[in-house]
Symmetry: C2
Subunit: 382 residues, 2 copies
């Protein structure tokens, strides 16, 4: 006997040029001043100029564009107080996961005051933020549909997520035309993050018969379209599918959670600046390999769905081959290995201890995992 | 550009013997007296005796078991006032779609008073009902996840749905062991209803990239498992899959709507007592045939998903073959034709007029449809 509650909170507007519907949303929710949080890169595009122009016709706004890489708690605070001091009653985030997370964090600072680090943890946000309109320009974190925003505590060199029902965005705009200019390396790292959300939520202990369908489809879509979007960034159909796949994987993540991949990757980001998607993608095959004794049937099923020519294999055979297939898949994207980030192998033990503290994904992992197991996984990814 | 809001409201408890979790739910929602609405057939089973016994240990209850076939508005009123006069603050429905719909109707009568027919239509219920715990014993209507309850207006010989956000059940218990004793004809008629929910919501104009995945999977599950559950009612795995498939199809229905099949079937039930699932199943291939010019690609895609051996066909070829395949599929269940219900063909014109008045599914239909088109469909199903 199992139980679940299923949530897909935002109203979704999707398709090419759906970003142009922002003024309609603003009128609908009747806000008076908007904090636009935007990627530095995207803030310089003609598209952003156009977005500002159509928003400016219906409401006042201010722009925060100081996000570089994954946000620190200080960046979140600065963004939030910028919005608060300007009297903003709505936040629009336009960018990758870092930008969307910053916008989500700012939305609760505006209403609750305090600091981002006060709210890191589970259910620590006292009251709702201002409404959040999320416009992803990468197909990655699924932040537009999740209840999480991750910020780095610079002093402790640690990442920490704010996890709260008040972080669910009210609106998600999935406009594939915004992702066309993403460079291949960002396409790869964000897409691999989405792949991990799909795979991990599919295999999570918390998965159920509804999330499994959504996660499995997310994986199928990403597996097929990520190499295309990577090698030809202008392929609009592939970009569109990646955006839908990432959103679906985000629903999987929000409802079934992720597993040890995310826990083991987290400290690499906090301590050594390994980008979130790269860390996850790199670790994925080794964590799956470790999990194999507990996931043969389920991973085998997924493997056979992805590889038509494996249909006569047993689940066990397919699951083993799938781990190798993921390693081959990753090679396409030329992602660096742990050694390339200058991580000394002596730090593995401390990193593993930190990984175990990211306890929710560890609990969701289909096989129970020890510090020594994690050290071994770091070694393999070295 | 399209938009959607997605809702799957109930907390779901699923798996064999999940019905035994009812006392936990009762304690959680802290209700004091329960109205149990139950199928006449199920009310006489040992299982129901056991359910009453475990509920009786935690709370008082009264039982309403006067449901015969699809409920009239009078049955709904009687059930509601029985609960109201007994001071019930929670409703449990255990049975098929008729029972669950009656329970949902009663829940709003208890709090709002009035009569069922006051609330037939869209958004006519003024305030929430008492909490609703839904326990389907058929794999059919998906009533446990939808916002609709259908009652027959006996005087007008018409069916009418109450459609209201206040009809979304708070809890759905999917216990396949309860469906094991369903006779083959009910397994077929309810299962065909679920198949229509899956297919129609997949093809509905209101479908989106999330509902399409759920509807498609519902169809795949039902297509594979309904013949098994029909020919061997004791196959627990098939029963379980049917229950999940019906639930998923219900999510499709609740979020993307159904199409002309339901509109054309409705008057057959109201005027000539054609069971809902039979009417829908019988009409499905002819409505699809009519819709073909607008659904070649989508139905072809679905067809190729269902029939591995069609993978080299074009979408158009597969879509045409699928219509015939559904006719073959229906033959397995030996469902009657319109003539078997003593429906005079002279009534088709009036029935078609009534069908057009069931306007929401008509608007969702992928091809616009006229009175004459509907008459032609009745003729084919004769």
């Amino acid at each position: 006997m199992k139980r679940f509650k299923f949530l897909c909170k935002p109203e979704v507007i999707y398709g090419v040029d759906s970003v142009l519907s922002i003024p309609d949303i603003i009128k609908k929710i009747k806000c008076r001043k908007i904090l636009i949080v935007v990627d530095k890169f995207f803030s310089k595009t003609d598209k952003f100029a156009k977005i500002k122009s159509i928003i400016g016709k219906v409401v006042d706004f201010v722009v925060f564009d100081k996000i570089e890489g994954e946000p620190t708690t200080e960046t979140g605070d600065e963004c939030g107080y910028f919005g608060k001091e300007n009297g903003c009653d709505c936040v629009i985030g336009i960018g990758g996961g870092s930008t969307l997370d910053t916008a989500k964090g700012a939305s609760i600072i505006i209403t609750n005051g305090g600091r981002i680090r006060d709210y890191q943890g589970i259910d620590k946000v006292p009251s709702p933020g201002v409404p959040k309109i999320m416009v992803p320009t990468t197909a990655g974190t699924g932040s537009e549909v999740t209840f999480t925003a991750v910020f780095i505590r610079k002093d402790e060199k640690k990442k920490g997520g704010i996890n709260s029902v008040y972080l669910y965005p009210e609106f998600a705009i999935l406009d594939p035309s915004l992702t066309l200019t993403l460079p291949p390396d960002i396409t790869a790292s964000t897409g691999l993050d989405a792949l991990c959300h799909g795979m991990e939520s599919f295999l999570s202990r918390k998965a159920n018969f509804l999330t499994e369908i959504i996660s499995l489809n997310a994986v199928k879509i990403i597996w097929k379209n990520l190499p295309v979007a990577y090698s030809n960034g202008n392929d609009l159909k592939a970009r569109e599918n990646m955006l839908y796949g990432s959103f679906l994987a985000g629903i999987g993540l929000a409802n079934a959670g992720v597993t040890a991949v995310h826990s083991i990757s987290y400290p690499l980001g906090g301590k050594f600046g390994v980008p979130h998607g790269i860390g996850n993608g790199l670790l994925l095959p080794y964590v799956l390999e470790f999990n194999l004794p507990e996931i043969k049937e389920k991973l085998g099923f997924l493997a056979k769905e992805l590889n038509e020519e494996w249909k006569d294999l047993s689940f066990e055979e397919a699951s083993v081959k799938m781990v190798e297939e993921i390693k081959n898949f990753l090679e396409v994207f030329k992602i660096p290995r742990l050694r390339d980030f200058g991580i000394p192998s002596e730090s593995f033990s401390e990193l593993a201890e930190d990984a175990l503290k990211v306890s929710v994904p560890i609990e969701n992992n289909p096989r129970s995992i020890s510090k020594q197991d994690i050290v071994e996984i770091y070694r393999k990814a070295y």
